[in-house]
């Protein structure tokens, strides 16, 4: 029973995030013993990969850290076509861009970089980007 009470107090201390047990009156000390929850494994420490004497210099795979696109009509089409040459991080990393700039960007992919996107899908891709990634529409 005592144990449970101690554990509960422990949780309370963490939850309140205040030094309830440590009111010290130390000179000048304003706050101490305050912690907040962090996200474990958000940055992993990678192990070195096994090397072998085969003349191959190998570093393994490159991890993908691709954020979710805003949900909405056209998202699947975007993921299908854009992902062929690059991850959709190329969309989320941009600042909010004017509608016309997104349209230009999509046509650049088609006309300059030879992306094979049918006309209907092109229009849906542009509409999706304009619906979620302009200064007026961007939320995330």
């Amino acid at each position: 029973m005592k144990k449970i009470i101690y554990i509960l107090i422990g949780f309370l201390v963490i939850a309140l995030n205040k030094p309830v047990l440590a009111k010290t009156g130390l000179p000048g000390l304003v706050r101490s013993g305050q912690y907040s929850k962090g996200t474990l494994h958000s940055i992993i420490q990678p192990d070195s990969i096994q090397q072998s004497l085969d003349s191959i210099y190998n570093v393994g795979t490159y991890p993908l850290y691709t954020p979710d696109l805003a949900s909405g009509e056209g998202r699947e089409i975007i993921q299908g076509y854009c992902n062929l040459c690059h991850s959709v991080t190329y969309i989320t990393m941009q600042p909010p861009l004017p509608a016309a700039t997104w349209e230009d960007a999509v046509y650049k992919m088609i006309n300059t970089y030879s992306a094979l996107i049918p006309e209907d899908e092109t229009k849906q891709i542009i509409a999706y980007l304009q619906a979620h990634y302009t200064p007026e529409t961007r939320r995330q």
């Binding site: 907040s36 490159y62 300059t112």
Partner: protein, 431 residues
């Protein structure tokens, strides 16, 4: 003091404070670098910045981990683009494990077999060559050069209006001691034919595009009559180590003073051309307006008044690395303000430091000189004499007399940013 009075000051709150303060002072146009360390671990940076300029020193992406790399700032994940965090620039040489990464096409080498890989020297030459790494190390004289590698689009997120592209903060740059063989030694061994005009470079990087489409391969060329040809090396070593895979193993081109677009990674083909290279990567992108500083306006671009030319030499830049504004400074404490400076067109000969937003300047002390293409560290001992906010600024001058301007630049691709950098810091009482 009661607990309630001491609220946890959030980063967002600080940004608003700084923003509000700046607006009050009429400084709203200043890109005051915000701190990116020592914040609340649970409070993430915003996922993006804009449509205003990025107020942070670096890009706002999360830290991510890649082979042979420390956690770096994510720009993109496929192909990989990673930014070096600010504090790695306290030293003149940027560690390989922290060196920024920028690829164009998704087919990036993961593994290279050196018993099959060759460096081909071909095209308009007397005798084509296929060299192993061992050939490069043993048959040719090895040379070393300290040189800054900077992405043409470094600091693109400062542009107003914002332009699409990798939204780099200031960390798309690094300085390393590169060791390898002179390009001219290779060209001499192959025998460049009379009538040759350029040399083209191609690496192992390949895209998913149709063969010979611009999204299949990345090609860059240098003119044979460009003086930089004599200083260009094919590097197999970076800071005394093999190149990290993400920085161009087995060898990369080092073109001192020029933007990184010419520093082909995983270099495999050196091709002498008898006609100028007109491929997309030379004539349609990595181009800047043919105007002073490459500056123009969206209007002039739209109306077709701008002639574009390939980007080339890096303009002079300097940076404040510490203090970074993540903590307050006690009054009258002597602070070692530290940073780096470099210029693509000549040795950095002077760095000026200001603690009053550039109204008055004093000479900073320069660090060791590792050659005209290297980072030059600088420092200034600064003793703040009053409490309150200060705007620190730094301005470099090179041996050709180029001085950093206090105006931004705008061009459609987001290249050549070199405005004077600033850092806001707060000084508080010490008694």
């Amino acid at each position: 003091m009661s607990e309630e009075k001491v609220k946890v000051v959030s980063r967002r709150f600080l940004i608003k404070m700084i923003g509000g303060g700046a607006a009050l002072l009429g400084l709203s146009k200043l890109p005051l670098a915000l701190a990116q360390v020592s914040g609340q671990a649970i409070q993430q940076m915003p996922g993006f910045t804009g449509p205003d300029a990025n107020p942070y020193w670096g890009a706002v992406g999360p830290f991510v981990v890649y082979p042979q790399k420390l956690p770096l700032i994510q720009i993109t994940d496929r192909p990989v683009q990673l930014e070096t965090p600010r504090h790695y620039f306290l030293t003149p040489f940027t560690p390989n494990a922290a060196f920024y990464v920028r690829w164009h096409l998704e087919g990036i080498p993961n593994a290279v077999n050196l018993s099959e890989w060759r460096l081909f020297v071909e095209g308009y030459v007397e005798k084509s060559m296929a060299l192993t790494m061992s050939d490069l190390m043993k048959r040719f004289k090895s040379v070393s050069i300290a040189a800054v590698n900077q992405c043409s689009g470094n600091s693109r997120s400062r542009f107003q209006p914002r332009v699409p592209g990798a939204q780099w903060g200031n960390g798309a740059m690094g300085n390393a001691l590169f060791t390898g063989v002179r390009l001219t030694d290779l060209l001499d061994a192959a025998g460049v034919k009379t009538g040759s005009v350029q040399v083209q470079f191609e690496g192992l990087e390949k895209g998913r595009g149709l063969k010979d489409s611009v999204s299949y391969r990345y090609l860059k060329s240098l003119s044979l009559n460009d003086p930089v040809i004599n200083e260009t090396i094919v590097a197999y070593e970076m800071n005394g180590e093999p190149l990290p895979m993400l920085n161009g193993f087995p060898v990369r081109l080092v073109v001192p003073g020029k933007f990184s677009t010419y520093w082909t990674k995983a270099l495999t083909w050196i091709r002498v051309l008898d006609k100028p290279d007109t491929n997309f990567w030379m004539t349609k992108t990595y181009c800047v307006p043919d105007t002073p500083r490459g500056n123009t306006t969206p209007k002039d671009v739209k109306e077709g008044r701008v002639k574009m030319v390939p980007v080339g030499t890096m303009p002079i830049r300097s940076f404040i690395i510490t203090p970074d504004g993540s903590g307050k400074i006690p009054l009258e404490m002597p602070i070692r303000v530290q940073g780096i400076a470099f210029s693509g067109s000549g040795r950095v000969v002077n760095v000026d430091f200001s603690d009053d937003d550039g109204a008055t300047w004093s000479k900073a002390k320069l660090g060791e000189d590792y050659g005209r293409y290297s980072f030059r560290t600088w420092e200034s001992i600064w003793i703040p004499k009053r409490t309150g906010n200060y705007v620190l600024a730094v301005r470099a001058t090179d041996e050709k007399g180029n001085v950093q301007p206090d105006e931004g630049v705008w061009n459609p691709k987001g290249y050549l940013w070199n405005k004077i950098e600033r850092q806001e810091v707060m000084v508080d009482v010490a008694q």
